[in-house]
């Protein structure tokens, strides 16, 4: 219970700080809206009618991924400012609690932004995204993305070129998650049955487990000198 309580304390602290500044949420939201608007106009010139459905999943997940990168960049920068990460590392708790706390905060912020983005995307692209199966895909994709992103964010926060380094490291590693999420989203939009997209869902579940598990084992080496 104590371990869980400390994870929740970190999430609570991140939420309170974010409610006060709204820096991360506003940046993530505005950036993903811009991505969708730009894609919408770009596709409008070259892709018409039913074919929009073919490109929509890619555009959706690019917007989610970019917004996620912005959130991840902020996640550990806030901790590094004023040496707050050291304050966390001094607490009598296994350091993996810090990882799970920061990961949960990132997942929460990403999911809130994604929830706001779905109606915006529906309005611009004219595709109906209100499907419970899609919610499952978004949650799994977000957990996998934030799972690996959190540990890389902790790593890059200690470097000078952190804003540049994070996407360079994260996107290749998170590519399987993004590919699986795009494929599963395409399947939903194409009206496929759950059984047909099952293998992509299995891949998403695997990464939602594997990435946090790998981070669990390596996080202590990442954050300590």
């Amino acid at each position: 219970m104590s371990y869980l309580n400390k994870i929740l304390a970190i999430v609570w602290k991140d939420i309170v700080a974010e409610l006060r500044t709204k820096e991360m949420f506003s940046a993530m939201f505005v950036f993903s809206v811009l991505v969708i608007v730009i894609f919408n106009f770009a596709f409008d010139l070259r892709v018409s009618g039913e074919r929009v459905r073919e490109v929509a999943p890619g555009a959706l997940w690019v917007a989610f991924a970019f917004a996620g990168i912005l959130g991840l960049n902020r996640a550990f920068v806030m901790e590094k400012d004023r040496g707050c990460l050291e304050g966390l590392l001094l607490a009598p708790v296994d350091h993996t609690a810090i990882y799970f706390g920061k990961m949960l905060s990132t997942v929460l912020f990403m999911l809130i932004v994604e929830a706001f983005m779905l109606p915006v995307f529906t309005a611009f692209f004219g595709v109906n995204l209100f499907d419970l199966r899609l919610v499952l895909i978004i949650v799994l994709g977000t957990v996998g993305f934030a799972g690996v992103g959190t540990v890389l964010s902790a790593m890059t926060a200690q470097t000078r070129a952190r804003e540049v380094l994070l996407p360079i490291l994260l996107l290749p590693v998170a590519a399987p998650v993004l590919i699986a999420a795009v494929k599963a989203t395409s399947g939903i939009l194409d009206g496929q049955a759950m059984a047909e997209i099952a293998r992509w869902l299995q891949l998403l579940v695997a990464f939602a487990v594997i990435f946090p598990a790998a981070a669990f084992m390596t996080f202590d080496f990442v954050v300590k000198e």
């Binding site: 309580n5 700080a17 006060r20 004023r82 707050c84 050291e86 607490a91």
Partner: protein
């Protein structure tokens, strides 16, 4: 005054609160600590002097478990820090030039967060007491980013003592403080020294460092170059020793 060597612990006697043995820390090709040996008895106040770059901060970071040593051991209260870091951290309070506080949270929220991280019972009472001790109770609901440097450092002290640690590590705590804030810090340090806590204070200010210590040591080029008891040592004598040691070593 003669330098004192570390004494071996007699069987049955309580182990030193802090025991550093042949500690080495390298960052790439640069070696910050070159085999440091140091013992601090329970309730003892040790001031560690040394010029910039001597390795004081690295030593404090190793003792506080923030930095993993390249070689050697750190034992706190008789236990190996590398093996029992999670439980031993409960006994450590750290004040450094970084406040380790969140600017977007209020003073009270910061302390409540750390109280949860340390599983403190009667958290609200401890938070109120700590804030009153450092004179910030009236400003407890203001975000820390609105505080002056002195107020931030006072809150950092409240954070460090909130869980009532038996070992206090103070890394250049006077850095950037005005006279009033330095006086406040001095008063809190006097309380710490009087409450039988084990304290290591690092500084290159000889006057501030000598004020409350039981023993002084000089760290130079990653090694303990000199150590001796405070009794009979005045500022002029310490200045001479410091000059000699840092010139010769």
């Amino acid at each position: 005054m003669a330098a004192v060597a570390a004494q071996p612990v007699e069987p049955g006697a309580s182990p030193p609160a802090i025991e550093v043995h042949r500690l080495v820390k390298s960052f790439g090709h640069r070696t910050a600590l070159r085999g440091v040996d140091l013992e601090v008895a329970e309730g003892e106040f040790l001031t560690l002097f040394g010029p910039n770059g001597a390795g004081k901060t690295t030593l404090i970071r190793c003792v506080s478990s923030l930095t993993r040593p390249s070689a050697g051991t750190v034992r706190l209260r008789g236990e190996d820090l590398s093996k029992a870091a999670t439980s031993l951290r409960r006994h450590i309070g750290l004040i450094s030039h970084n406040p380790l506080l969140y600017g977007d949270l209020t003073a009270e929220e910061n302390l409540r967060f750390f109280a949860r991280m340390y599983d403190l019972a009667d958290a609200q009472a401890r938070i109120d007491a700590a804030l009153q001790q450092v004179g910030l109770f009236a400003r407890r609901r203001d975000p820390v980013r609105d505080y002056s440097r002195g107020m931030v450092q006072r809150l950092a002290i409240a954070r460090a003592i909130l869980h009532d640690p038996s070992i206090m590590l103070l890394d250049e705590p006077y850095t950037g403080l005005d006279l009033q804030a330095a006086d406040m810090l001095r008063s809190v340090l006097q309380d710490l020294a009087a409450s039988n806590r084990t304290v290591i204070l690092t500084t290159h200010n000889l006057e501030q460092g000598l004020e409350m210590c039981d023993r002084a040591a000089i760290l130079h080029r990653g090694k303990i170059a000199w150590q001796g008891v405070r009794t009979g040592l005045d500022l002029a004598g310490m200045k001479q020793i410091y000059r000699d040691v840092t010139r010769l070593a």
